[in-house]
């Protein structure tokens, strides 16, 4: 099997999912790159995650109020075990683009509800995604639209819809913010009875005409008696919206761009790529699946290996998928769901509506130590099936020189590209034990896992 094919498939699976084991990569290479893209884009072809299984083991994961240890545990379990990896990855994309946080909503059910909404419609049309976001209780509360009424317009949702979720600053006026907000007056939720455990009500969207501002509005040059649906429809008519979303897709799936607040003044890293994605979005009525197909099969995507810093969710989930043994609900799932928070990305509890800064900003001295220690702990456990599989594969060559051992490990951990300096240091480290002979050396597991631990400590390992 050509290594280039494995490299490319590993790249696809890191970006369109959370990585894959070597056996899975080999199966997918057999199947072919384009066929794998099609499978990822057709999640219904694969079995769904069994929610009831998680419920049996971790009932609190479903109604966790504000209990942090359970808040994102259902989603974590799904990301680790799902056979529909792009569906999970896309939920992360949409959530990061339009985040809400339990710090304000105080309601993990509403946060998790959003993740399920994204899994359901995240590959559909951006219109549906924005509509669902406008109506979901978590967002109605997070951006105060429940307080937005004809008598007292609250602009929080209207403003962020334009600035952060669809068009980006500079493409609309303050008057447009005002008019959009007026159109969303009366979009609120009602409380469902009975009240759930930990004092949380379920809530459902309701339109209250008596709160709605029925007057005429002028939004982005169009005038009419608009409601929220009209605003979203008009937003999607703007080429700026396609550009903005395309740039987000490029930034999330292809390569780290500058931080979003600088987008108004700094052109995209690859303008041609973003233009192509934007045109696809615009011409297809914002068909996300179609646009992702263009993205994943493009040369700019295939040439962007290791052009992103992994976010903490990617670190945790891809490590657990790699070492294996976490596919079924496991003891300690709740504690595990805190790990990405310790690395600076507390899922379902975003620091602000602007979302997380990404790329190199994931890294500081505290978070780097967390990332390295977490990953090293995981790959240091030779009893894990994924690590056993690597050891068995290495074992097939009865005897290895230090250089061969390092090459094999780098290959199985990625395949990973490293600088000459890093390679040299790894080889020097491996040389301390001399050649590795599986027939005579009894400590081979320790030697291999220690080398794996040094590899996950590399700067290069922080890239996706």
């Amino acid at each position: 099997m050509a290594n280039k094919d494995i490299e490319l498939m590993a790249h696809l699976m890191r970006r369109a999912g959370f990585g894959a084991t070597r056996s899975e990569l080999e199966t997918r290479v057999q199947k072919g790159y384009d066929a794998t893209v099609e499978e990822l884009l057709d999640p219904e072809s694969q079995p769904p995650v069994d929610r009831w299984e998680i419920m049996r083991y971790q009932p609190y994961a479903f109604r966790s109020g504000t209990i942090q240890n359970f808040g994102s545990s259902e989603w974590l379990q799904a990301m680790i075990s799902s056979q529909r990896p792009l569906q999970e990855k896309l939920a992360l994309f949409w959530y990061m683009l339009m985040p809400t946080g339990v710090a304000k909503t105080d309601h993990y059910q509403n946060e998790n509800r959003r993740i399920h909404e994204f899994k359901e419609i995240g590959m559909g049309s951006f219109y549906d995604i924005l509509m669902a976001t406008a109506k979901t209780p978590g967002m109605l509360f997070y951006l105060d639209n429940i307080e937005n009424n004809a008598k007292a317009v609250n602009e929080n949702w209207g403003r962020e819809l334009l600035e952060l979720f669809s068009m980006g600053v500079g493409n609309y006026t303050e008057i447009d913010v005002r008019e959009a907000s007026r159109a969303f007056t009366g979009w609120t939720y009602e409380l469902m009875l009975p009240r759930g455990p930990i004092n949380r009500h379920d809530q459902n969207f309701i339109y209250r005409p008596e709160m709605h501002d029925d007057g005429e509005k002028t939004f982005l040059g169009q005038t009419g008696n608009f409601n929220g649906e009209d605003i979203i429809r008009i937003i999607l008519q703007q080429p700026a919206t396609a550009q903005f979303l395309a740039r987000h897709m490029y930034n999330f799936f292809v390569a780290d761009d500058v931080q979003v607040p600088a987008w108004g003044v700094t052109p995209p890293r690859d303008e041609a790529a973003v233009d192509l994605l934007a045109d696809t979005l615009f011409e297809s009525d914002y068909d996300i699946k179609k646009t992702l197909r263009v993205l994943f099969t493009s040369d700019f995507f295939k040439n962007a290996r290791f052009e992103k810093i992994k976010n903490p969710a990617e670190i945790v989930v891809s490590t657990l998928r790699m070492v294996g043994g976490y596919e079924k609900p496991f003891p300690g799932l709740g504690d595990m769901s805190r790990q990405y928070g310790y690395m600076g990305m507390d899922l379902l509890n975003v620091p602000s509506v602007e979302g997380w800064h990404f790329g190199a900003e994931w890294i500081n001295s505290g978070s780097l130590m967390r990332r390295i220690n977490f990953t090293a702990d995981m790959v240091g456990d030779a009893s894990k099936p994924g690590i056993q599989d690597m050891i068995n594969r290495i074992k097939e060559s009865k005897k290895l020189t230090p250089v061969q051992l390092v090459d094999q490990c780098l290959d199985l951990m990625g395949p990973l590209d490293v600088t000459e300096t890093s390679k040299q240091e790894l080889v020097m480290y491996a040389s301390e034990g001399g050649d590795l002979n599986f027939e005579t050396d009894t400590d081979y597991e320790v030697r291999i896992t220690e080398l794996l631990q040094l590899i996950v400590s590399l700067r290069e390992y922080q890239y996706a």
Binding site: T66, G101, V102, A103, K104, D106, I309, R338, G341, Y342, G344, D346, N349, P351, S352, V353, H357, G359, A360, E361, I363, N364, S365, G366, L368, M369, R370, I372, N373, A376, D377, G380, T419, T421, S422, E425, L426, M428, Y429, E432, E450, Q453, L454, S457, L458, R459, Q462
Partner: protein, 375 residues
């Protein structure tokens, strides 16, 4: 300003979960207290009275000693307007001083930036706990997060001898390489900073000796770690730790007792330790919780409330009580809670200006009346 020639240091102890104000500094003389707390009310004979109105929780004996020696300031009715009664939101407000919008910059992060603008010391701020509290979060400000000082550092899971070899390789792998790009350089520098911070910190327990015995509790362990780092003179100015959970919705009686027992004993040992080493005069400690709890108990515990109590401790603290205990009369309560009578940002302002000598406005986001609880 302080008259100490040593650099001022703050230790913040966060009581997570909402400490029950009324059972901490107890308004024992008021009938409403007794009437409202048929289940969780502290029996009169156990209350440690400090004056004709207020008494301390029975487990706060060690703190009573600090109070009597004039080293403990009790600050009544602390909070802010329209308390949301949500743990997360309220804690965020305390951390960022932003009650009206979602803030991302922590007040102690801003203090750290002012104290060490050129990032000369990777240990200017040290937090004990797994997650970085938002109070210390500020992009570009390094904070060492320590879980366990004895095992702090990179790759603690690897046996010592092998680990030294690996870390040696690590330092070389993270050294600057020409032409590898800005992000690789940044990662390299961060890795080396991490290593440096860990190298320095791991010396602290070795340099430490003391006659003070700390109790075997999680909070005492954290405070001992803070004492070790402080006594090692690494230049750390901001320490953070937390204890909890104080979220006593049910079975409050035993739970709240244990929490205050551990905190009081831990703090007592901490200050005894610093004094033994003649290292207490430049340290103040600040205790707070995100909110107090409801006046009326719920038959087993108490629900989320609003106004709470904060404490400042140390040689440079002017002991006593500050502010007024808010009225518990039913007509003065909001949603059953005592209304905060003191804005927490005013309490912070005293520390920012009179302890660190910094301009408080940009740190607490506004001008607030301060209290003279520091010498």
């Amino acid at each position: 300003m302080t008259s100490t020639n040593k650099e001022p240091v703050i230790v913040v102890l966060q009581m997570s979960g909402g400490n029950d104000y009324l059972n901490t500094t107890i308004p024992y003389a008021e009938g409403i207290y007794r009437d409202s707390r048929p289940v969780v009310g502290v029996p009169d004979e156990k209350i440690i009275r400090i004056d004709s109105k207020i008494g301390l929780h029975p487990e706060m004996g060690p703190l009573k000693e600090l109070y009597d020696s004039g080293d403990l300031a009790i600050i009544h009715g602390v909070g802010y307007k329209d308390s949301p009664r949500s743990h997360f939101r309220s804690m965020d407000i305390w951390h960022t001083c932003e009650p009206d919008k979602i803030g991302t910059e922590g007040w102690l992060g801003k203090i750290t930036r002012e104290l060490d603008p050129n990032k000369e010391n990777v240990l200017t701020a040290v937090s004990f706990g797994a997650a970085l509290p938002r109070a210390l979060a500020l992009p570009g400000v390094p904070v060492a997060c320590v879980d366990d000082l004895d095992n702090y550092g990179l790759l603690p899971g690897i046996a010592k001898e092998q680990r030294n070899k690996i870390l040696d390789r690590f330092a070389r792998m993270y050294s600057p390489t020409i032409g590898s790009g800005a992000v690789m350089d940044y990662l390299g520098q961060t890795g080396l900073d991490t290593l440096e911070g860990a190298d320095i910190l791991k010396e602290a327990p070795k340099l430490y000796s003391s006659n003070v015995e700390y109790p075997d509790t999680t909070i005492a362990k954290k405070l001992k770690g803070i004492a070790q780092i402080h006594l090692a003179n690494f230049g750390t100015r901001v320490f953070y730790c937390d204890h909890g959970s104080f979220d006593s919705h049910s079975n409050q009686v035993g739970m709240h007792d244990k929490l205050w027992k551990d905190i009081s004993q831990g703090i007592s040992a901490f200050f005894a330790d610093l004094r033994e080493h003649n290292a207490s005069e430049n340290v103040i400690m600040f205790l707070f919780s995100e909110f107090g709890r409801r006046v009326h108990d719920n038959g087993s515990g108490t629900d989320h409330g609003a106004g709470g109590v904060a404490f400042a401790l140390g040689d440079k603290v002017v002991g006593g009580q500050y502010g007024e205990f808010p009225s518990m009369k039913p007509e003065h309560l909001e949603q059953g809670d005592v209304v905060p009578s003191m804005d927490f940002r005013g309490v912070y302002t005293t520390m920012v200006e009179d302890w660190f000598g910094l301009d408080a406005n940009p740190i607490v986001n506004g001008n607030f009346e301060k209290l003279a609880y520091l010498k």
